[in-house]
């Protein structure tokens, strides 16, 4: 029992370190802002840092914990962004307090994304490996393109949808909220660094506690061996769907932050397309698959780095690709592993030799 308690303490400590890192980073940045040591460029990066950290944690839940490769996470982010933004636009003219409105926006974003995650998960999670990746990729693109073509307005008669143009809405006065490819303009700018960090902490709390509970264990057991997991009475589909839905909800929260950080929101490939999904995956892979803290660190480093190397920003995706390939070679190619071990060995030898000499 002592050993078990020691192990639990180790996990708790590791989780606390993750929270402490985020909080310390937040305090340092706040101090720097208040003393005026932060450039406006960097200030603009603060909320995206939170958004990408949240998305990286969200995807890590699917890729690392549930063991399925999803390439459609930008799609769930898109759903969260548009659902919450629509709500905020509708309620903007009412007297609802801003804080409450934004809180409800976050809930709406998460719930809508979770709903679509659930719907998409039902057929998609029957597939495995590469096939699942391809289908989620397709769903991500479908969502983005659908939203890109969607017109949505509200008037005295209620809600109007159209996939053709604003004329087909048959509006009787009222306001058009989503204008197809032009998206939503005028979303209130509610996101800020503090809210982003709070949401990141909440997400970390949920995900880390989930992993270290009965449910998380079941999800990981199914990842490691589905047949054995079913033989001890786990419902593999249910747990995979649960992880996928929670992950989609968290991605939706990232989308809410995103939508309320910019005044205009469009479903462009740049925002919610394939590249965005891949970028989130890069955060997860770089941070270590299944390593939640690593995801946050990787998301921060890889978001800040390109901005620091702004002159090279055209080559950003190129650099990502090269870095990814190098990482994979470094961790899996036998010749590279041998080379690494040789280097480690030579260090080890030196130590031993030194040890002997000192004797």
């Amino acid at each position: 029992m002592d050993k078990v308690i020691a192990e639990k303490k180790k996990i708790t400590r590791s989780n606390l370190i993750t929270f402490a890192m985020v909080i310390i980073a937040y305090v340092i940045v706040e101090i720097m802002i208040n003393t005026g040591n932060v450039s406006s460029l960097f200030k603009g990066l603060l909320v995206p840092l939170c958004i990408y950290s949240i998305l990286a944690v969200s995807l890590n839940l699917v890729v690392g914990i549930s063991g399925e490769l999803s390439l459609g996470h930008a799609g769930f982010m898109c759903i969260g962004a548009f659902a919450s933004s629509t709500w905020s636009m509708i309620m903007k003219s009412t007297s609802m307090p801003e804080g409450l409105r934004f809180f409800i926006a976050i809930v709406i974003g998460a719930v809508t994304a979770a709903f679509f995650g659930f719907l998409i998960g039902i057929p998609v999670l029957r597939l495995k490996g590469d096939y699942l990746a391809i289908v989620t990729l397709a769903f991500g693109e479908i969502i983005k393109n659908l939203v890109n073509a969607l017109y949505f307005g509200i008037d005295a008669n209620g809600l109007h949808f159209s996939l053709e143009d604003s004329m087909h809405l048959n509006m009787d006065g009222g306001t058009i909220i989503i204008k197809g490819a032009q998206g939503i303009t005028g979303t209130p700018k509610n996101s800020n660094f503090t809210i982003g960090v709070i949401l990141l902490l909440i997400v970390l709390f949920i995900v880390l506690n989930l992993i270290n509970s009965r449910t998380g264990r079941a999800v990981m057991a199914i990842r490691d061996n589905r047949i054995a997991a079913e033989s001890v009475g786990l419902n593999a589909t249910k747990f995979k769907l649960l992880a996928f839905t929670i992950s989609a909800a968290i991605a939706g929260v990232g989308g809410v932050l995103y939508a309320h950080n910019l005044s205009s929101l469009q479903a462009l490939p740049k925002n919610f397309g394939y590249n965005q999904s891949i970028m989130i995956l890069v955060f997860v892979v770089m941070g270590g698959i299944g390593n939640i803290r690593g995801s946050v660190v990787a998301a921060v480093v890889l978001t800040v780095l390109p901005e620091l190397l702004r002159g090279l920003s055209d080559y950003r995706m190129l650099i990502y690709a090269v870095v990814l390939i190098l990482m994979m070679l470094c961790t899996s190619a036998p010749s590279w592993i041998q080379y690494r071990e040789r280097i480690m060995m030579s260090f080890g030898k030196n130590k031993k030799v030194n040890g002997k000499e000192s004797n």
Binding site: M1, K3, V4, A6, E7, F205, I206, N209, L210, N212, S213, R214, T215, G216, R217, A218, M220, A221, R223, D224, N225, I227, A228, A229, E230, S231, V232, G233, L234, N235, L242
Partner: protein, 253 residues
């Protein structure tokens, strides 16, 4: 004594191939029952039918008083059949302790929300699970390895861990699929003691598939011999093993 497992004319066909046909067996409570036969005879298929991996095309399976024919894996596990696998299937990335705790999943419940918010219920039940899992590991002398990753255990102990995990589901019937595969004579000897221990300590009914005749003749009370998907012989271990037909099926003419 009442039969713990009663299988009546069980069969499954894959297309035109009858992998198992008209399979009958009755296993008494607390019995150690052996299922043997040449490679490809359909032994593992019988296990897969009993545990719900395959749905039988004919016949029925009764466990205790429950008819469990046609249920899926999850339901059958809850009814009380647990199994191990021919090629070890552990949750390789989880710790030894967590492997057993996954086995306890359906016996010690709290909701996902309890887990996220670390409610008192979560703490209480997690502690219960830890204690239960450790006591199970202790039976197999694995409690010292509780924080090891399952894939880092030596082969023989992985086998034991698989049995411990199966027992964690609190089964009425334990199915062991070639538990001695890949073991040397010493390890087999130890395994025989472990299996006897499991039967006596947990008052367990055990059905096992095995090729190692030393193990089979050493611990099984009764045997069924399967050949080409059909029952060739059934009865007391020594009688069956010396039956000319059985010898012929194993050694050829």
């Amino acid at each position: 004594m009442a039969a713990m497992l009663k299988v009546d004319s069980l069969g499954i066909s894959f297309g035109g191939l009858k992998a198992v046909d008209n399979f009958n067996v009755e296993i008494e409570k607390n019995e150690l029952y052996g299922l043997i036969g040449p490679n490809g005879a359909g032994k593992t298929t019988v296990f897969n039918l009993l545990t719900g991996v395959y749905q039988p095309t004919s016949g029925q399976i009764v466990l205790g008083d429950d008819n469990i024919t046609g249920l899926d894996c999850e339901a059958i596990s809850k009814k009380g059949i647990a199994r191990t696998f021919q090629n070890i299937r552990l949750f390789s990335q989880l710790s030894v302790l967590d492997n057993v705790k996954v086995g306890l999943h359906n016996r010690h419940e709290y909701s996902t929300l309890d887990g996220i918010f670390r409610t008192p219920k979560f703490r209480k039940i997690e502690r219960e699970m830890d204690e239960k899992a450790l006591s199970l590991l202790k039976v197999f002398d694995l409690d010292g390895f509780c924080n090891y990753k399952a894939s880092n255990l030596p082969y023989g102990q992985q086998r034991k861990l698989e049995i411990a995990r199966a027992l964690a589901t609190d089964p009425k019937l334990l199915l062991l699929d070639e538990p001695a595969a890949g073991m040397n004579p010493n390890e087999t000897e130890e395994l025989m003691n472990t299996i006897r221990l499991v039967r006596d300590k947990f008052d367990m009914t055990i059905l096992l598939i095995e090729h190692d005749m030393k193990l089979v003749s050493g611990i099984c009370d009764r045997l069924t011999v399967l050949n080409f998907g059909q029952v060739l012989k059934q009865g007391q271990t020594q009688d069956v093993l010396h039956d000319p037909e059985v010898v012929k099926a194993y050694l050829g003419d």
